[in-house]
Amino acid sequence: MGDGSALSGAGSTDEHRAASAAAEAVARHSYGKLVAFLAARTRDVAGAEDALAQAFAAALADWPVRGVPVTPEAWLLSVARRRLVDTARTHHRDGEAAAVLALLAEVAEPHDDDAVLPDRRLELLFVCAHPGIEPAARAPLMLQCVLGFDAATIASAFLVAPATMGQRLVRAKTKIRQAGIGFEVPTREQLPQRLDGVLEAIYAAYAEGWADSTGADARGRNLAEEAIWLGRLLASLLPREPEALGLVALMLHAHARRDARRDADGGYVPLAHQDTRRWDSSLIDEAETLLRSAAALRGPGRYQLEAAIQSAHSVRRNGGLPDWAAIAQLYEALHQLTGSPVAALNRAVALAPLQGAAAALDALAPLAADARLADYQPYWAARADLLAQTGALQEAAHSYERAIGLERDPAVREFLQQRAARVGAA
């Protein structure tokens, strides 16, 4: 939990530490479950979050004195539910209050021995990625409702002003309540399309975390790992959906190479030069297993293709060479499927080891007019590398310059500057 969330303000005594550690543990495992359960009937996510925040605050006051309850989850739910009832009585007009109270009555008071809280997180994930929610709010909404991230942390991760992110989240929650977006798992016919939204939002969160090369945000939570956690949750709830498995495989493959992206001095190391001993073998093994299970379900898709590409790169850990023909084909299939210019870019780059840099540049040429790549650093860096290989040094230098000017990460910027210096000096 970040600053300003349910768990800030813990005391310093041992009891407080134990109580806040217990609360933190419940929050990590159950926050989303509690929000989903409380909001499923009322569709009032913000209200559920407020009530839970108050319940956590009450826990931090109560648990150090009376000890951590046997079933902390049920304790928190019970307090939060009472807060919701109180709020409904005080703030809603008579008719509205009665309606809310009737809904809350259906949220059964959990018994202390009732350790099993119905898991409505899958429904909550589908609500967060509902077509009625603006796309830019979907991943942030998941991070907030399911994992309890505060708006400021999410804003930094997505490079958006905290006020903007706060408004975006409030708007989304208002929409859920006012439009009556249902806490339901979509029907069989709707599922593929609706699932895309959920997968996309989880992957967006992962990508933002991946860009944060130093690994952790200022408050100590790594967005990439949290996205993997969401992906695993989704895959465990939908074990027969190949794309859900494919997304986890993709994220695990990328994550396995996290540490290898930097050398001992903090310098950037591109994939081709990474020391494979620094790849996390167990994550790669898990990714491979997931990808095989996904393939067995016979429903190909974007994330399985991307995971397969990462898998083709991972053969280097056994001393093998990447199968560039397969990689180029997979990118081609990905491009056919998604129309993504980035897939076309990567396909062109994969042609270089097969047919030479000149052929790769030819394949890249049609992308020069694509406005979506004009400010995309990897396009300029790839173009510069290929130009340098063909001996077009001046053009290469110009493309490196573009890439350097567009890069956010100082380590990558420095790496590009070194490459630019090499072609400049030649």
Binding site: L159, V160, T164, D375, E401, R402, I404, G405, R408, Q417
Partner: protein, 118 residues
């Protein structure tokens, strides 16, 4: 919409660099400026001389005061600025994050308030 990106950094940081490192840092600014130009968003931008070259003027009780030094003495100084024209704040922040100043200092993003705007 126009935004000003104000680069606040400790000038001692740049001075402490060796010559080669300093020219690399300056080249990064050059590349960044070029990227802003190529994207067609750059209105203007410049470096500022160090704050010890500043002179501050104020009128108090009918008397003009002229003081050596900047308005506020801080370790991190306003060292340069860009004015960019982009669709919205999100786009301005994404350019600010690419500014080399974001990694060795901080980039403050403020919307320009034109004289003819309410």
């Amino acid at each position: 919409m126009e935004y000003m990106l104000m680069i606040h950094a400790d000038p001692a940081g740049l001075q402490a660099l060796r010559d080669a490192e300093r020219s690399t840092a300056l080249a990064a600014y050059g590349a960044y400026t070029a990227a802003l130009q190529q994207a067609g968003v750059l209105r203007e931008g410049n470096r500022l001389r160090n704050a010890d070259t500043a002179t501050t003027v104020r009128l108090r009780g009918g008397k003009t005061e002229v003081l050596n030094g900047p308005f506020i003495e801080t370790k991190e100084q306003l060292g340069g600025y860009y004015v960019i024209d982009v669709p919205d704040l999100d786009a301005a922040l994404s350019w600010a994050a690419r500014c080399p100043g974001a990694s060795h200092g901080a980039v403050e993003v403020r919307p320009v308030w034109a004289m003819d705007q309410p």
